[in-house]
Symmetry: C2
Subunit: 335 residues, 2 copies
Amino acid sequence: MKDVASAAGVSTMTASRGLRGADDVSEANIQKVRQAAKEIGYVGNHLAASLTKPRSNLIGVVLPNLTNVVFAHVMSGITQALEGKGYQPVFGVTDYDPEKEYEVVKNILSWRPAGMIVTGTNFPDHTRLVLKQADIPLIQIMDTDGEVIDSAVGFSHEKAGYDMTKTLIARGRKKFGFIGCNLERDFRAAKRHAGFLRALNEAGIPLKCEFLDNEVSSVSIGRTLAVQALETAPDLDCIYFSNDDIAAGALCHCIDANIAVPDKLALVGFNGMDIARSFPGKIATSVTDRTAIGAAAASLLLERFSSPVLEHEDRIIFEPEIDLGDLEKAIEPGS
Amino acid sequence: MKDVASAAGVSTMTASRGLRGADDVSEANIQKVRQAAKEIGYVGNHLAASLTKPRSNLIGVVLPNLTNVVFAHVMSGITQALEGKGYQPVFGVTDYDPEKEYEVVKNILSWRPAGMIVTGTNFPDHTRLVLKQADIPLIQIMDTDGEVIDSAVGFSHEKAGYDMTKTLIARGRKKFGFIGCNLERDFRAAKRHAGFLRALNEAGIPLKCEFLDNEVSSVSIGRTLAVQALETAPDLDCIYFSNDDIAAGALCHCIDANIAVPDKLALVGFNGMDIARSFPGKIATSVTDRTAIGAAAASLLLERFSSPVLEHEDRIIFEPEIDLGDLEKAIEPGS
DNA sequence: CTGAAAGCGCTAACAC
DNA sequence: GTGTTAGCGCTTTCAG
């Protein structure tokens, strides 16, 4: 910066002001300084610039995973909303591990981000504490079921599971199975599972069988578990999966095994992803708009930056939309 | 930090050393300092810490897009390799726009990252310049066709397109169409296209038709373009798509329109994504390991940090693997 | 409108 | 081992 200043024949202060386009510099100097900067290929130093301020213009983003497209979409929504606003996302992945999460949060916080976007509402106390103490706008995304620290953008997974199951019951499905992955660590999948069970319970319908795996979900695991489930309970007329990926795996099996989907067996996933919808109508699902959730979270942060509010406790809800696909017009099993 | 120091009854220097676990502090003080830090909930300041060093421990990542799963996978590979190494990725999205790319690169560079991972080899001069001047380890990923600034991890898209097309020709396909999205901005897709044309040309096979769209690829666009192509040239026996997504869209149409895939019409995508493979065998594709590419790029950076090399000019190649699917055993068209 | 001085929070270098 | 001093590169005062 000194170099820029001397190249432009002004003081470093004028150089600084000129580059930032402060409103108390002469137009002539702005031009001179910017010209000089361009010529010597000057690249600023956000580190030093941010050190003089209470917060940097980084935005922390903490996601459990990135192989799952859902979070890639969230991230995409975030970057879209941040586009051209001068904020840069710094981000960390937790792999659904609370300890990693804590480390990542602390690490990001030490960059003095202007705001944070974190996934979910289930945090260990120590994580919650550092998050609170950071005293910056904090958006929890994807889940609105638990305790909200500052603001949350997402929906209730319990309700999503419940609503879908009620709908399935109303369609005449009676013999339910559940197949899920990673429920121990993926709190949101577990909440959908809980909602599913509550709906069955209320309707007095017993759960026929349940197959769980602690791996992160994938198409192939879905297929494997579906094979097991159908061996155990060949008469199932509906399987609720913890997401679309594993439902798609099950569908592959059904296609090969010549099982009529959804007439004989309904497959129900979650998220409304391309992979489910690429078999048009075969998989029923709850369509979530995670790009919108990411974008809304980022926009909310930007809003907070420009006008800090004291009272809010927002929970912005993006209710998932139930898409039954062919199940809409499927015959009732047993009729 | 002063607070930690006074809480622990030592100087700030000892506190600093203790927290970092420098090797010239007494064990007693390390404990005291860390204890104090925990009690007052001290969170360090990477901004200030990095200011005293030539580089921060941020790693810049520049990707064109995140809605395309391919780059989500790359990102995932990067974070996996960086896991626990104390580096945090900062990242930017370019939307395939060279100007945005330039801005993002400059912006990230001003955080004084320890290293950079950027996508591709096609950069405007001014971008290339700032990248070079940053004088940090720089890994270009996904593409090894163009000019490599420091190191590249990926493969030749031109060759990938060429190889696949040669294989298709060897399988007896004769009436080729091409369907592509975003070729103007997606240089890698354009290179595959070029390889495709070169193979046809060498074999003396004319291109029957070509449908391009300037949107970013999606399943639905693939379907639309496929409908158009098949109206124009109903006798096509092979369509090469710029990626799997649009090939999947075409497959949806073929299923509805009862077109035998791949016997009558081969659909050929690129990347080997779940969406293509969820129709087992239907879509031929070149399987790329983008997670491995991301991980290799990040590992290469880590290596460079620990042992700076002068001579390298590496191009680490992850050759895509051709997966013909059912085309492997399909009848030759016209036989 | 411009410049000089002070300091953001931390650490490298040098004393003690 | 530990503390003191100086300074990373920038910006926020405050004087001119």
